[in-house]
Structures are given as C-alpha cells and as structure tokens.
C-alpha cells in the first residue's frame, strides 16, 4: 500500500469532510439548523404581523350593539352620536334608572348584560349623565362590559375612542372662548422642527448601534444552540451507535479526530448562525420603515475584533459542548446534559446587552461570555479601545485553550469505547 500522506491537519480534514457529509444526510440536523429558521423567523416577523393586521381589519368591520342609558331620553349629544356611527356602533336608547350609587355600579344590568353579550344582542352599555360645571358641556359616564368577551372588549375600546374625540371637541370649544387652541393650551413648550433631523449620528452609525443591541445576543445564543445537535451526534451519537470504537481503532490520533469533529461542528454551527442572522435581519427589516436599516461602516480594527471575538467564542462553545457530549453514553443523556448549558450562555449574553459601555469597569471584559458580547458590541459601535481589546482577546484565548484542553482530556478517556449497546 502507498505511504500515508501525513501533512498536518490532513486527517482532521478527512474527519471533518466525512462528518459534514454525514450531518447533511441527517434530516434532523437539516430541520433543526436550516428548515426551522427558514420557517419560524419569517413566520414570526412577517406572517404574524400580517395575520394580526387581518384580524384587526376583520374586527373593525363588525357592527357592535351598544345600549345607551341616559337620564333624559332625548338629550343624547349629536356630536357623540355621529362619532359612534362612524365607529360602526349601533345604538339603542334606554332611560337610566334613578338611584344608582355611581354609574359604574352595574346594579340590575349585571346579569342582563352578561346574557346579552353571550347571545350577541348587546356588547356594552354606555351610561351618560349630564352635570353642571363651568364648561360648555359637562358629562359623567361609565361603560359596562364583559372583559372575557372579545366583542365586548372591542365595543368598550370603540366607545372610549369616540368619547375621547368628543371630549377633545368640547375642550376645543371651551378654549376657543378664551382665544386658545388645544395645542396652545396643552403644549406650551414645543419641539421645533423634525425630531429625527436633530440626531447628528450618521445612518451607518445608527445601524451599528441598532445591530450592536441585537447581533451579539443572537450570535451568542444561536452559536450555543446551533452547535448542540451536531456536537451530540458526533460524540454521544457515535458512542450510542457503536461507531466510536472502530473509529478509535484507526491510525488517526484522538486529537486529530477531535479536531476534525470540532471543525465539522464549527462549520455547521457557523453556517446555521449566519443563515439565521440573515433571515432574521431580512424578516425584521420587513417590519420597519423603508431605509431604516443602514449598513454599519466598520473600520479594519472593528471588523478584525468582530471576527476574532466570534471565532474565539465559537471555539470555546463547540469545545465545551463536544467535551460534555462525549462524556455521555447516549444521545438522550447528552441532550439532558447540554440543555441547561444553553442558559449559561443566554443569561450573560442577555445581561451584556444592558451593560453601560460608558465608564465600564475593565473586569467585564475578562468575564466569560460577557467579554465576547461586549467586544462585539464595541466593534459594531466602532469603539476600538486597545485596553478592552487586549483584555477580551487574551481572556478569550485563555478560555478557548481551557475548553479545548478539557475537550481533549474527555476525548482521551478510556471508557470512550463503551456504549449503551
């Protein structure tokens, strides 16, 4: 047989290539890493808002029945009548029974309204009583409704909107008598000009700021979750299926096998994270006004920082997940072990989003997970503090070495050949 070609990394590449082929043929991996983000994110950000919009339109088109109770039957204000007709509300007038404590007490209408809401004949009761004040018009009112009925809640909402508009008309009339408009009376100190025009940041900087609030968290969480399934399949899965023993009997060293597996998981995980971020940004931008999202302008140091932080973080995450998964003798056991680990990545990543970067203490840049999230935030904001970079880069390298060392130790375990079968 031919002399083996033993250039460094050759065996690891052979392992990675085979693992990628194996993973691509696994429908569970494809569903978890590709199909779910392709379906779930657009569903969440595009289909759900469209669905809710449709539901609101459908609700608006329904005519609702409201009983109006007045102390004097024929003094219903014309302005309110017009507003309620415009709100697609049909009115039925009744005499307000005298002797109520206040208008909000349902009294004898409690049972009646409940039954009426159920059979759809009435959706709410509006009680109105004219009072005497210095205003041109003055009224007390209450709306009786059933909060457990969707249509009754809708009727209450439409009544409140119409009453608010009516109240504004009365206020305008009152203010007109003293020579004021509503705006002059309620808004004596006003912003002059376009609110957004006063922001001196560029579109690119704004984009960097918005992305700095999203991307580090998404990368941290999705890196951890995307690497989980392949990590389990390539380690505990191999043990469970009995393929690990024959693999360990080959001429490849355990470090070569580990590196090959790490490379495969890193490639699959990175691909999945990039796909998820692309779909997320595309779907998210659908919700925002056109032109809201710009492209951040990042300098070479920022780009380098961003890439380095992601690589170091991914190195640690994949190594930790491989190390934990390889200890398990079955896929189920590995899943149980790795699931809580996700929280260990999500919690600090979430916290790191709210840490104030102005005057931040240096130790934040040494804390695991926090350091890379903060590094990504600073990179997207174009902040290139050499002390910060030195701390997070050195600590991340240290954590990555620790994680890889631990994974290597686990991969050299003698009981790796044993499986539940």
């Amino acid at each position: 047989m031919s002399e083996p070609k033993r250039w460094p990394g050759r065996v690891a590449l052979v392992v990675a290539k085979k693992e990628l082929l194996d993973l691509v043929r696994d429908w569970r991996t494809l569903v978890a890493l590709v199909l779910v983000p392709l379906i779930i994110l657009p569903l969440l950000f595009i289909a759900l808002p469209l669905f809710l919009e449709g539901e609101i339109e459908e609700l608006d088109s329904i005519q609702l029945n409201v009983v109006v109770q007045l102390s004097v039957a024929d003094d219903f204000p014309e302005a309110l009548d017009t507003l309620l007709q415009d709100a697609n509300i049909s009115l039925l007038f009744e005499q307000l029974e005298p002797g109520q404590g206040n208008l909000s007490e349902p009294g004898g209408d409690e049972e009646r309204l409940r039954l009426a809401v159920r059979n759809g004949s009435t959706h709410a009761i509006l009680r109105l009583e004219e009072t005497s004040t210095n205003s041109t018009e003055s009224w007390n009112y209450a709306i009786l409704h059933d909060s457990t009925s969707e249509l009754s809640r809708e009727a209450r909402g439409r009544l409140l909107d119409s009453i608010s508009d009516w109240e504004e008309d009365i206020m305008a009339a009152n203010l007109a008598e003293v020579g004021l408009t509503i705006d002059e009376a309620t808004n004596p100190i006003r912003w002059d000009g376009d609110f957004t025009a006063a922001d001196v940041s560029t579109a690119a900087e704004s984009a960097g700021f918005v992305l700095s609030m999203l991307i580090p968290l998404l990368i941290a969480v999705w890196s951890a979750s995307a690497a989980m399934q392949p990590s389990i399949d390539l380690t505990a899965g191999e043990r469970e299926r009995g393929t690990m023993e024959s693999l360990l009997c080959t001429a490849a060293t355990r470090m070569e096998l580990l590196f090959g597996k790490w490379l495969a998981v890193a490639i699959v995980g990175s691909g999945a994270v990039l796909l998820q971020i692309a779909i997320f940004l595309a779907a998210f931008s659908f919700l925002l006004p056109a032109g809201f999202f710009g492209i951040p302008e990042l300098g070479p140091v920022s780009i380098l920082s961003l890439v380095l932080s992601v690589i170091l973080f991914a190195t640690s995450v994949v190594a930790i997940e491989l190390a934990l998964a390889v200890r398990a003798r079955s896929v189920k056991e590995a899943g149980t072990t790795l699931a809580p680990l996700l929280m260990a990545f999500i919690a600090p990543a979430l916290f790191a989003q709210f840490v104030n970067l102005e005057g931040i203490e240096l130790w934040w840049f040494a804390a695991p997970v926090f350091n890379v999230c903060l590094a990504m935030r600073e990179a997207l904001l174009g902040i290139n503090d050499p002390v910060h970079i030195a701390i997070w880069a050195s600590t991340s390298v240290f954590y990555a070495i620790l994680a890889v060392g631990w994974a290597s130790k686990q991969f050299n375990r003698e009981d790796l050949v044993e499986s539940i079968n």
């Binding site: 085979k18 043929r25 696994d26 024959s246 009997c249 003698e414």
Partner: protein, 283 residues
C-alpha cells in the same frame, strides 16, 4: 512459528473493583491464526482492546515488534492494524464504500488502492453489488462483511476480530471463515475471538482459553484435548473453565450451562468421580 509480532507481558486490567484481566502473558507471531475462546465476560474483548491500544494496561505492557526487531507501543502502529469490533460500527447514513473509504483515508491510503482491494475482497465475501448501497437496512451478515472489508482496505498485517461470526447465518459465517483462511495464506496474523469452539477448531492454529480474566490454556486444539484428557475441544473447554474451587467441593456444581452442555458435563464429572447435585439453567 513465525517472527514475533505482539507481546503481552504480565498484563492486568482493572476497572475500579472489577479485575477484567489478571497477569496475562502471551506472545503472538506473524502468520498466526489465534482463537480467543471464553464465555461472556471472560475478558476476550478487554484483551482485544488492549492489543489494539484502546485500553492501557493497569499493570504490564503490550508491545508490537517491528520487522527490524524494535519494539513499539501498539497505539503507535495502528497503521498495521485492522479491527472489527463486536458492534460493527458502520455509519448508516453512508454507503458501504463510503464507510470503507473513510477508514482507509484515515490511514492515508489512496482511494483507488482501497477500492481495488475492497472489490477483490468483496468478491470473496459475495457483497460487491452492495458497495454503493446505504448501510441502513443491511442485514447483520452484510454489516459484518462490510466491517471486515473496512478493516482490511488499508492492507494491515494484523487483524483483530471480535466475534466476527456471531449472529451470522451459516453461509455468511462460512464466507467469513473462508476469508480468514485466505488472509492466513497471505501471511497475515489474525486474532479471532469467538464463542464457537467448532469454529475455532476449524479456523485457528492456536486457541487461547480465557476464563474469569485469566488464561486457562494456550495451544493447538490437539494440545488442549491432550492436556485435559478429553476427546473433543468442547470437553476440553468445559474441563478448563470449571472453577478450581468447585472441582474440589465434592459435589456442588451450579452453572449457567445450556442444555447441550449438560451431557458433556455429566461425562466429565463421571470421569473425575464428582457428583452433580443440581443443574440450573440461567434464564
């Protein structure tokens, strides 16, 4: 006897409180076909894993002898080793050839060379037409044969087979035995663990009986029968694997023996003037 290939020197292997092998010393020569015979849990798989470097001895050492006389740790010479573990360990999302090619690539063998050798051996095992089929859904026999081809694709000097015919139909088992004989003719060394004494007698020049982690006998089938004063290898095996404490306890022989063993046991105990009080069958 050929040149030395492997030496097991005073090896003991323990897993916590469990002593899987105790003070085992063995020599394997080039061209040997050696059968490791023993019951479940006797220590055969542990010995095979020590021979291929998957386990490290608790005491003692296992060394590989190069042709120039130098000695090496076994895990540094895996290039010359082909292993078929008890669980065949095939990737079911890959085809048979992809499984074989993966292992041969790990050994640095060119695909064309591995393919030529695989086709030749597949013909001998009668599975050349399934090489491009996914191994999902393969029968036990096809899986076992594919695992054998995988272990041989890089042309190793030493082959370690852990119960290669377990669960195989008669025809498949026959093909595997035929392949082992073919390898012997090519001058390769095969260490072959099995439960089947008849098979061991048929295939192996030398049989090592392992029981409760110790080597009870090592020799040709004829040597074993002469040593135990028995007429068949089965009787010899029973004689060799009876615990000493039970042999002298005058009567109590409780066992796990299956029905076919009872007759053998009766004959043996009669010869040794022992009395069987009760035989229970393990469920």
């Amino acid at each position: 006897m050929g040149a030395p290939l492997l030496s097991v020197r005073g090896v003991s292997k323990s897993f916590g409180e469990v002593h899987a092998l105790q003070e085992v010393s063995l020599e394997f020569s080039r061209g040997d076909i050696v059968g490791l015979v023993g019951s479940n849990g006797a220590g055969k798989t542990t010995l095979l894993r020590l021979l291929c470097g998957l386990y490290r001895p608790t005491i003692g050492d296992v060394v590989h002898h190069a042709t120039d006389g130098s000695e090496h740790a076994v895990d540094s010479v895996r290039q010359n080793l082909g292993v078929v573990p008890e669980s065949t360990g095939l990737y079911h999302r890959l085809t048979a050839w992809e499984n074989i090619r993966y292992h041969s690539r790990l050994s640095g063998v060119r695909d064309s060379q591995a393919w030529n050798r695989t086709v030749r051996l597949a013909r001998a095992l009668d599975i050349e037409d399934v090489l491009h089929r996914s191994t999902r859904g393969f029968s036990k026999g096809m899986r076992q044969k594919t695992a054998l081809l995988r272990a041989l694709a890089h042309d190793p000097d030493l082959l370690l087979l852990d119960e290669p015919t377990a669960g195989l139909d008669v025809t498949s088992a026959r093909k595997v035995r035929g392949l082992v004989r073919m390898l012997q003719q090519e001058g390769r060394t095969v260490i072959y663990s099995t439960h089947h004494l008849a098979e061991a007698e048929q295939v192996c020049d030398r049989i090592i009986v392992i029981h409760n982690g110790t080597v009870r006998a090592d020799g040709s089938p004829r040597d074993l029968m002469q040593h135990t004063d028995t007429d068949s290898l089965e009787e010899a095996y029973v004689a060799l694997t009876l615990d000493a404490s039970r042999e002298v306890s005058d009567a109590e022989v409780y066992g796990w023996f299956q029905r076919k063993w009872i007759a053998l046991l009766s004959r043996f105990t009669a010869r040794k003037q022992l009395e069987i009080e009760e035989v229970t069958e393990d469920e």
